[in-house]
Symmetry: C2
Subunit: 259 residues, 2 copies
DNA sequence: GTGCCGTGTTTCGCTTTACGAAATAAGCGA
DNA sequence: TCGCTTATTTCGTAAAGCGAAACACGGCAC
């Protein structure tokens, strides 16, 4: 019954997840005995799991009624996942289209902890020597993705991204706040950000933000190519990226991560 | 760090929930080592949790990329909770209004496993002898709540609720399918269901369905009062219930539980 | 008031079993 | 091909999860 044939299954965790699933699927807040009767586990065991899950914030324990329900922390995680899941799945086709149309590498990234985090990467060529990997992080100031998002962030947030200790990734990396602000300003005006050899020698990137329903830059898409190849297609690339970003925005759920 | 000061905290569960929270909050699918580095836990431990959570369906393990992400089962639970949470919180004020206006007991219930499950109950009087409790279940055929929901269910689902073994709760409880269908039919025509002493002697109930965005009866509200008191206010009660249900429907999220 | 359920909480001793270091395997890039 | 990184497996130990049973608590009934 509770057995997980997997040899690596941790029993307490597996059983606690049964409790979790039961509570989350009920329309009402549940009592200890109700869970015990529904799942056929010993009272003490269920009691401990309910306590543990409440302590973790996933459940909320209504002391006066002695009932357990799903907690706000769980809902927050669920919202975050829903947005990111939607972002990735709706971006899917657009990324494919871009890489097919330009035969260059396409990136999807979000902003987390004031860094650019790569979420999806489609590489046109096999040579992925210097390519980022999913989950890798790059500074905001050295990437077109970062500058594209910064361009649609509230001013005070942008100021926070202006670090005194700018990481110098290449000899072209922006190293002063003034230039960074100017680039961001220009990105906002043009609707796309550019970066030429500032993150990686010989590679030019064009980045466009993906705005959520509230106009907040939840993510960004970019096309990166060797300087010489990119030079010939800046306008066409920027336009294609903007179209893609618009379509992704349109099919995003109406909820927002930010307030 | 991982300590749960609670004496009843189950450590494996608490730590697994840290892993859970980390994975759910990332925009990208994660690798084992990424979680290890982020949370500072031993590799083997995290590995086991990832396996366990994947086996439970909360995570999805992308074998080819060896990456873990949130699974569909989690999203399903999250959707269910979001709907029920929204239902309860938006119903809150309406239930208060109804109990304040009529000074009689007001119920909120959903349909689960072909039974009526009480989700919220506001009692006007102290005497709660025969009142239902949150989480308790009653048959569909003996309650106004059940008949109200059945009235807006697809025909084939209603047929499933027609049980040969109708539980006879009082001498008035409907015991044959023909009469049940007639009551449901009448409820659909009038927009509210009635039940007089069929679930509990001397008590009359009026029930109204709460429809979701798709027109599916996700829940129902009812007012219950002693037969004599109810007789004088049937129309007024039905109207008030319908207004409340309409308003609850209006503030429900646009997602649906059903297909 | 008194006593009996049906709750939730606490204790406690016994193993079970989770743990994590280290060894192994598997990929992948150079 | 080698060497690095990452995932998996093994294994012995000791921690700690387990659940029966005892306890506390509150509400209802009589």
């Amino acid at each position: 019954m509770t057995k997980g044939s997997d040899p690596y299954s941790v029993l307490p965790v597996a059983k606690a997840m049964q409790v979790f699933a039961y509570v989350a699927s009920q329309a009402h807040d549940v009592t200890l005995t109700e869970v015990v009767q529904a799942l056929g586990m010993p009272k003490t065991t269920v009691f401990r799991y309910l306590q543990t899950l409440s302590a973790a914030g996933l459940f909320a324990h209504d002391i006066v009624q002695d009932r357990y329900g799903v907690g706000e922390r769980f809902r927050e995680l669920a919202r975050t996942d829903a947005i990111y899941h939607s972002l990735r799945s709706t971006a899917q086709g657009e990324l494919d289209g871009l890489v097919g149309g330009f035969r260059e590498t396409v990136n999807l990234a979000v902003l987390a902890d004031d860094e650019v985090v790569y979420v999806d990467i489609r590489e046109a060529t096999r040579s992925q020597r210097f390519q980022a990997r999913i989950g890798h992080r790059h500074p905001v100031h050295s990437t077109s993705l970062g500058k594209a998002m910064a361009a649609f962030l509230p001013a005070e947030t942008v100021e926070r991204l202006v670090r005194p200790e700018y990481e110098q990734r290449t000899y072209r990396t922006l190293t002063d706040a003034r230039t960074f602000r100017r680039h961001v300003e220009e990105a906002r005006r043009r609707g796309f950000a550019m970066e030429t050899g500032e993150n990686e020698d010989g590679v030019t990137c064009i980045g466009v933000p993906i705005l959520d329903g509230k106009g907040y830059p939840i993510a960004a898409v970019s096309l990166s190519a060797p300087d010489n190849r990119m030079k010939a297609m800046v306008d066409r690339a920027a336009g294609a990226l903007q179209d893609a970003a618009r379509r992704i925005t349109a099919s995003l759920p109406p909820i927002s991560l930010h307030v």
